[in-house]
Symmetry: C2
Subunit: 359 residues, 2 copies
């Protein structure tokens, strides 16, 4: 539980187990990040590949936090980057100015690029902690080169982008933790060789999944899909309704590059794709419709507004396989509290049965 103590030193306002809102590009902005942190979690702005709005998003967050009772030497929200497309030189001055409590790095184009982002961030804002998202044991080993403070271990059930091939968190998380701990054998507090703090992402939308992740050895959990159905998500009604509707996500979501192709989101490495709800675009692509025709139909659908989403629609609904557990729109703060307290209750209740030998 030393990791819990370290988390509380880094982020004195949090309650544990830590609940984090994922840095969903275009969707997770200042509102969501601030509400999550104010509820004792840690909220992220999804800055993605384009930092044009980052300064104003950070200013909004700062302004929204002005009347909060969070006391921290850093801005108590994080920023998430998709590093292959993000702009280092324009970002570093903002990190220096706003001192976010965390930066979340994902999918850098090269190890050297990750090194540059990490070093320049640490130089610009020494208290900003470096979070790195990985999706395999191999990626976790590679990430250790930059001594991350936090490793976000993303399982293949996650919505949106991640490794095309992967395992669920029950397989992935324990193996990553065992491997990394073996590679950091002389871990001492404050030492750079200290193992990172571990968080789990992918396949968690409520208290049972959060409690399960804690059993796997992490100190907290990241949720994306759950926060798509929150008051603070910057999302169309069509997208949000589809999140509420979709069920049986193992059958109705799929990992694919089709949605990136239609949306013109080029730049992702061959190793990565994204999970979204199966819709007409995907079915047509499977049926052999050409990219050109599929893109044309997508463009037409864009003009239709909210009806463009759904099984017969063509607009993209990125979501995790856990989408079937998301059944209502809630305030982000309520989600944080419900999952955190719910996870504690799941563990308390199970342990009681263990102790009373009813098990």
């Amino acid at each position: 539980m030393d990791d819990i103590k370290r988390l509380k030193v880094h982020y004195p306002w949090i309650q544990t187990p830590l609940i984090v809102s994922a840095p969903m590009r275009l969707i997770a902005l200042a509102d969501m990040a601030v509400e999550v942190s104010k509820a004792g979690g840690l909220g992220f702005i999804g800055s993605g590949t384009n930092q044009t709005n980052l300064a104003s998003d950070l200013q909004s967050a700062q302004s929204l936090l002005r009347d909060s009772d969070i006391h921290s030497s850093t801005l108590p929200i994080g920023i998430g980057f998709i590093n292959w497309g993000a702009h280092l030189s324009t970002t570093i001055p903002l990190i220096q100015q706003y001192k976010p409590c965390a930066v979340w790095f994902f999918a850098p184009s090269t190890p050297a690029s990750l090194q540059a982002w990490t070093e320049q961030t640490r130089h610009a804002s020494p208290d900003t902690k470096i979070w790195i998202q990985i999706g395999s044991v191999a990626e976790a080993k590679d990430a250790l080169a930059v001594h991350p403070d936090v490793l976000v271990i993303q399982g293949t059930d996650a919505g949106g982008h991640g490794l095309a091939q992967g395992a669920g968190i029950t397989s992935l998380v324990p193996e990553v933790i065992d491997t990394v701990r073996t590679m950091c054998p002389n871990a001492k507090p404050g030492s750079l060789a200290q193992a990172p703090i571990f968080l789990a992402a992918g396949g968690i939308a409520e208290s049972r999944g959060a409690a399960a992740a804690l059993c796997l050895g992490v100190s907290g959990v990241v949720m994306g899909t759950r926060f798509l159905a929150s008051n603070e998500a910057n999302i169309t009604r069509g997208y949000r309704d589809e999140i509420i509707r979709a069920a049986d996500g193992g059958q109705t979501t799929v990992r694919t590059k089709v949605y990136d192709i239609l949306r013109g989101t080029t730049g992702w490495a061959e190793s990565h794709n994204a999970r979204g709800v199966v819709n007409r675009s995907f079915v047509d692509a499977q049926g052999g419709l050409s990219e050109t025709d599929n893109k044309r139909l997508y463009k037409v659908e864009e003009g239709k507004g909210d009806v463009g989403w759904g099984v017969e629609g063509r607009m993209t609904t990125y979501a995790g396989s856990v989408v079937g557990l998301v059944k209502e729109v809630r305030a982000s703060a309520d989600i944080v509290i419900e999952v955190r307290e719910g996870a504690r209750e799941v563990l308390r209740s199970l342990a009681e049965h263990v102790d009373k030998s009813r098990w």
Copy 2:
């Protein structure tokens, strides 16, 4: 926890949480099944599609159990069937004669076939409980038609055969449980409308994964890959060594039909495939090698013995994405005890931190 009580009524020798060895075809025979049950778990013979050896396997089990201290009205092991290929008429007399404590049904060709297996089993041996393996919410709903006693919820991380599309257990298990419980609203003990007992399979090989599964709401866990590396597995040295060697299973295992094609295992529905370790056969198939040539090379490799397994080999290593957590060969009984006690300890330790507000 009523489900735990029901399990203990059905299977008075078990200790909880229940640890089950999967009915792996050709690999899980009387030795493994008996050792697992003697250790307080529940072991299965993997009878698969071919019941030629079932009578002698059951006789072996009965003989091995003769000196055990298990007292049960049924034979305290189960039998697993792959129903699309299994022979109902020759099986029922064996069920009547040996009264296994459980039959595990999987992948029936039609709902009517599942109905026939279930009804004839119940008629032949009323105390034999009906277990049904499902891999989606849709399959779980369908299975309720035959009032299963146990639903085995298999996540896509599982090794060997299952649904080609699927979710990990953190997404799948809670949604299945919620859906099934909603469909069995008037559940009363002893009533046929009672919800089944839930178990999880896929992505569990040790105590952390088992504890995680319990948080998701199941009463016990099924492991396959972990028991491949047991003293009692009927497995070649080459296969077993490959299980111990393989790591980072999200990257090094894959769900595919290629291995079935090479082995001539026809009969599986289009909806199903199997997860195995990536080898030369798979890479060649991806590279465009014809089925005919790939089969020819497979046949040649079959003559080479244990060296036919491995990354450069062509023999099939069915395994789950959890394969990287399996690092040594153990006695099946020791695996059962270690995972069961370990899971209890994980839960006890986490709950202690919750209670002491260290969390």
